[in-house]
């Protein structure tokens, strides 16, 4: 826990430094019409760096030596986190590739997760993976008129 505390405090101080750098570029003083753009971020950054130093010293002096996360407890966390990342990539990968759209990606994600983690019956997996995206499609696209990223399947249905 102590190491994580030290690392986070250091990262926050670094964040403060980045803000400070940009604030200096924008001007931190008094402009023609009051405080310049960098004024508020500058003082935020200065305080953040000070506070991070305080947290750093606190952790150094009396941080508990307990591990931040053990290997076996990290596994379930990654088991949730990685499929979510996969779902986002399937929806619309960064870069020039086109994705499957949110609804189809959601179908794969839900089905995969149900089967892999929940070991649900294949019939339930297939049924829910179809029904849930279809219902969400109608709720959001039709009822609330909020367009979601769409892919070739929606194209094929004419949306």
């Amino acid at each position: 826990m102590r190491l994580a505390d030290l690392v986070v405090a250091a990262v926050l101080a670094l964040l403060g430094g980045v803000v400070l750098y940009d604030a200096a570029r924008l001007g931190v003083g008094w402009g023609l019409e009051g405080p310049q753009s960098g004024f508020f971020p500058f003082w935020l950054a200065v305080t953040l760096i000070g506070v991070s130093l305080g947290v750093f010293l606190q952790a150094l002096v009396r941080g508990p030596a307990k591990a931040f996360v053990t290997r076996e407890r990290l596994r379930p966390v990654l088991k949730v986190l990685l499929p979510v990342a996969g779902f986002i990539v399937l929806t619309d990968p960064p870069g020039p590739l086109t994705g499957l759209g949110l609804y189809v990606a959601a179908a794969f994600y839900l089905g995969f997760y149900m089967r892999w983690v929940g070991r649900h019956d294949w019939r339930a997996v297939v049924a829910l993976s179809i029904v849930v995206p279809v219902i969400t499609f109608f709720i959001f696209e039709k009822w609330f008129l909020v367009p979601m990223p769409k892919g070739p399947v929606e194209d094929w249905f004419g949306y």
Binding site: M1, A4, V8, L12, L15, V18, V19, D22, L26, W30, G31, E33, G34, P35, Q36, S37, G38, F39, F40, P41, L44, T47, L48, V51, S52, G54, V55, F68, R73, L74, P76, V77, V80, L81, V84, F87, I88, T91, D92, P94, L102, A106, Y109, L110, Y113, M114, V117, G118, R119, H120, L128, V132, T136, F140, F144, L145, V146, P147, M148, P149
Partner: protein, 506 residues
């Protein structure tokens, strides 16, 4: 005179059509409130085009009912899943979720809805009778008073939050820094974007809330080996009546929450700080502060009462002055203009049936609302019985949709994931998340108030101390900031043992 006008209003609000519209609005609003990311403002904006063909009074009843519904709905996911549907229901998760985990979700929801109703009702009564006087007070608020109020809100996190004050302060600062990313609306300069176009529109608090609380909580729960399955809820009339028997005990919390909420409701974003402030005060004045955060009913009563009192009070400056007190009220104000009405004090003179119909509909809407949500609680509690491996992806999918819907941009879904990891790490290291979100929500407003105040005083910070209202508020805020430093010293002086570290509220 007030009563006469109110009667006129009720004649408008209690027509079968308008009652039906209220029911529809509350149903839609509750659903919107339950879905994280689809807030009241969003819902009102989406429905606004549908109201152009309706008479203005019916239209405003539909939109305000949607707003009451969203206010009620926000509590449901907070209690059942620890995912606040709205920023003002963040504080409701602190005790609502632990109670649900202990199998008392029925009790928690009943307390939440009842408190919402009490807070809302208090504000409606005040709006009815004291609107002109209170509007006059709100008129005197300039930028320095506004900034002082913000300062007070954040000082209460550091001073009354009970955790590590340095980490609370760090959270607040990170929130403000995230809020300053993007276009500086005063000078038109780009801040902290470093040439990335995606950073130009900044970070939206909805995405941050969804990531930090929604995704972060899922990660934390699976690490602790907990499944989402709550205890089976016995939710029936009996639970409701039993809870109602306990609630009068917290009359002080109800009154305090209502007053805080109503007072804070004037200013933009008031419901969220009001809910946190009310929670902090309830904890401070409680005989059992150590029970807060572990499933204390009072910890639900305090924020819900204040949030709803504030949510309703936010309508007051909109109808009396034409200044919206909340984002949702701002959208409604846009509607008013489209319907051909002139917002502001003249509305009372020119369109009394509209103003008083609206005020009367606040009574009917909230009565219908509380009855409806109480009746449908078993339906919401049934959501708890969905297996974990289905519920997790469902929540993630809805969270992703909510994040995307804010700006129709993919990058927000990635932000959601990043905020999720940050939320997980921060929660483990005891950095409170609530002040971060609040600072992100209020960042622009606070900065503008600060800059305007400094322009007024030509750069002197003494403006926050020399103006009477701002000065009094600032003094209290400074006291709260110093409280963590004073308390150990004071305890030693009085010969008391050093305080045990209070449980974190997020």
């Amino acid at each position: 005179m007030g009563l006469e006008n109110l009667l006129l209003g009720f004649q408008v609000a209690i027509t079968p059509t308008n009652l039906f519209i209220a029911v529809v609005g509350i149903t839609l609003g509750t659903i919107i409130g339950v879905l994280p990311g689809l807030g009241g403002a969003n819902g009102v904006a989406i429905l606004l085009p549908l109201t152009f063909t309706m008479p203005p009074t019916s239209a405003i009843i539909l939109l305000t009912s949607l707003y009451w519904g969203a206010l009620f709905g926000g509590a449901i996911t907070s209690v059942l899943f620890n995912i606040p549907g709205e920023p003002w229901s963040v504080a409701t998760t602190f005790d609502g979720y632990p109670l649900a985990r202990q199998g008392h979700s029925g009790q928690a929801l009943t307390a939440a809805f009842t408190s919402s109703f009490v807070g809302a009702f208090f504000s409606i009564v005040l709006i009815t009778f004291f609107a002109p006087i209170l509007a006059e007070i709100a008129l005197k608020f300039g930028p320095p008073e506004f900034f002082a109020i913000q300062f007070l809100t954040f000082s209460s996190f550091v001073g009354l939050g009970g955790g590590n004050p340095l980490k609370s302060l760090a959270s607040i600062l990170i929130g403000f820094i995230l809020a300053s990313v993007g276009l500086d609306i005063v000078t038109g300069q780009l801040r902290l974007t470093f040439g990335f176009t995606d950073l130009m529109k900044g970070f939206d608090f909805i995405v941050a809330v969804i990531g930090l609380f929604g995704i972060g909580e899922i990660l934390l729960s699976v690490e602790e080996g907990l499944k989402f399955q709550g205890a089976r809820t016995a939710m029936n009339l009996r639970v409701v009546l039993d809870t109602w028997k306990i609630l009068p005990r917290y009359y002080r919390t109800f009154i305090r929450g209502s007053v805080i909420g109503f007072w804070m409701g004037f200013k933009p974003g008031g419901a969220t700080p009001a809910s946190f402030m009310s929670y902090a005060f309830a904890k401070r004045f409680s005989k059992n502060p150590e029970r807060f955060g572990k499933g204390e009913i009072e910890g639900i009563v305090a924020p819900e009462t204040a949030a709803h009192a504030a949510g309703v009070a936010a309508m007051l400056p909109m109808i009396t002055l034409g200044i919206p007190g909340s984002p949702t009220a701002a959208v409604m104000l846009g509607g008013l203009i489209i319907w051909g009405l002139q917002p502001g004090p003249m509305l009372f003179v020119d369109n009394p049936e509209f103003v008083w119909g609206l005020i009367a509909s606040m009574y009917t809407g909230n009565v219908i609302g509380v009855l409806m949500v109480l009746a449908f609680v078993p339906f919401f509690a049934a959501i708890l019985r969905i297996p974990f491996a289905i519920l997790t992806p469902l929540i993630v999918i809805v969270c992703a949709i909510g994040s995307y819907a804010v700006h129709n941009s993919m990058i927000d879904i990635w932000y959601m994931l990043i905020f999720g990891v940050v939320g997980y790490v921060f929660k483990k290291l005891d950095y409170p998340l609530a002040p971060l979100v609040l600072a992100l929500v209020l960042g622009d407003l606070a900065e503008n108030a600060l800059r305007q105040s400094l322009i007024m005083s030509q750069g002197s910070l003494t403006i926050f101390l020399t103006r009477p209202i701002a000065g009094a508020i600032t003094a209290v805020a400074i006291f709260f900031f110093l409280l963590p430093a004073i308390t150990p010293w004071w305890r030693r002086l009085r010969g008391l043992p050093a305080a045990a570290p209070a449980p974190r509220e997020t």
